[in-house]
């Protein structure tokens, strides 16, 4: 009886803590939106210098790893599908398969996951360290809004760079499939090219890109939230960084499911 009540209490507390956390994330999202739009014009400004610095860190410095991984994923998809399609004598459809799966799904998703691990975690660790060493408090006592000063530049940089990286990932993924198709599977490159061009609709490309905008907001927001809510010292920073990656990847995939259901289930 007593332990039953304790269990109920524990469930209630963790549920309460969960909803409190959701409310705090929503509040940070509201503040970020406010300080990057209305608040930026009314009281503050957008710190473009810092935004460009972050764009270089998040975007430009991630080009090699994102490019390489999407190229390899393109290769893998082509190899795996060729193995199946060969049985039907329809090897040329590798082009269609690679084209659709990369632009609709894998390009945006893989880019988002790499950037979560690379930049989302960096945001959480950086802001978390600043929180632990009282730098965030110092900003507030200097009447500088931490959201406007730290979160908005990172969010804007993420919103600009993740779609750009996704476009590049799409092209390099397609290139990976193309290289395998032409070199290994001996598909004439004109045939591969026309198949790809026929298969990919503008809608595929466009929904992939709009997903990446959503992913960008999730990654930046969760990274910033975990960083700003670090408790304890170095150990707290480590925990928050891990949590930011796990939560971001989960939310990216969850939102991907919802997004795909919304845009493709009726077709």
């Amino acid at each position: 009886m007593n332990s039953g009540i304790k269990t109920f209490g524990a469930v209630g507390r963790s549920a309460g803590e969960f909803f409190a956390q959701v409310a705090r994330v929503a509040d940070l999202a509201r503040q970020t939106l406010y300080w990057s739009t209305v608040g930026a014009f009314r009281y503050e400004r957008i710190r473009w210098n810092e935004t460009f610095t972050q764009m270089v860190r998040i975007g430009v410095n991630s080009l090699p790893i994102v490019g390489m991984i999407s190229f390899f994923v393109g290769l893998i998809i082509a190899m795996q599908s060729a193995y199946q399609l060969e049985r039907f004598g329809a090897v040329v459809y590798v082009a269609d398969l690679v084209g659709v799966s990369i632009t609709r799904e894998l390009g945006p998703l893989i880019t988002a996951i790499i950037i979560t691990g690379r930049s989302g975690s960096a945001i959480a660790a950086e802001l978390g360290t600043m929180k632990v060493s009282e730098e965030i408090d110092a900003l507030q006592t200097m009447a500088i809004n931490p959201v406007s000063f730290l979160v908005v530049p990172r969010t804007l940089a993420m919103l600009i760079m993740l779609p750009c990286l996704t476009i590049m990932a799409d092209f390099l993924g397609l290139l990976g499939g193309f290289v395998l198709g032409v070199v290994q599977l001996q598909i004439p490159y004109s045939a591969y090219f026309s198949h790809t061009a026929d298969a990919i609709l503008f809608k595929d490309f466009f929904t992939g890109l709009s997903k990446s905008v959503l992913f960008a907001f999730i990654i930046a927001l969760i990274g910033a939230y975990q960083g700003l809510h670090v408790r304890g010292g170095a150990e707290g920073v480590g925990k928050s960084t891990t949590d930011s990656v796990v939560t971001s990847i989960f939310l990216v995939i969850l939102s991907d499911v919802l997004f795909t259901a919304l845009f493709f289930s009726t077709f």
Binding site: Y43, T129, M130, S133, E134, E135, D137, A138, Q140, T141, M142, A143, I144
Partner: protein, 274 residues
Amino acid sequence: MAIKTKANSTVTVDPIIKIRNLNTSYGKHQVLQGIDLDIYPEETFVILGRSGCGKSTLLRHLMGLEKPTSGTISIKNMDLLHTNQPGRAELMKKMGVLFQSGALFNSMTVGENVALPLREHTPLDPATIQIMTRMKLELVGLSGFFDHLPAQLSGGMRKRAALARALAMDPEILLCDEPSAGLDPIVAVGIDHLILKLKAAFKMCIIVVTHELASVFLIADRIALLDGGVFRFIGTREEFTNSQDPRVRQFLERRPDDEKIDPDSYVNLLLENQ
């Protein structure tokens, strides 16, 4: 407060900070219990207290970082707790804060750190800001360290740089959280002398939270002893040394708490927790 001027006539000065009936509790634990406090311009006010007595919490209230459970704080006749965001920002610009760890931005150079409040809040051009930054750094004895990163400085130098940043906006109130914590005695006394120099030069209100008795007697005009969430003592240096309050005596004589260990109650405590 009545102050004696040179002509031996007294003038009344309004307090720059007024705290009335301030209560703060975390859960069931009440940290501050109905605190009243007046702090006057141009005085150096030291808040003494042992670890966990609520002095850091009081300081965080004054910095506007945490809201108390109830009570009022007014700074320069403005209600700190109930003004809107722009009003509070204006108030914060008149206050400089020296954090215990310095809290310099590690990604920026010392010069950029000191220049940041000026860049953010004044319309000055970069050349003027650079001149002002160099002046502030010279004031704290760090003139050659403009392009150094905080990580390249020693603990004492970092405190000095943080002090230069706190002074960047020429504040009327300077809040110092344990300025000598973690420094060797010689560097610590250097920081104390720097605070004295600032007091003489800028005539600002300096509030220091500390538990270092040595620096208290060097810098304080008035001393308050915070214990268990209430002020046990507020008065001048002389009144402090002559006070007969047992807590003040304990602090002055550096006596440890009387340890009362009762084996029965300890066993009971263990049993209750099971």
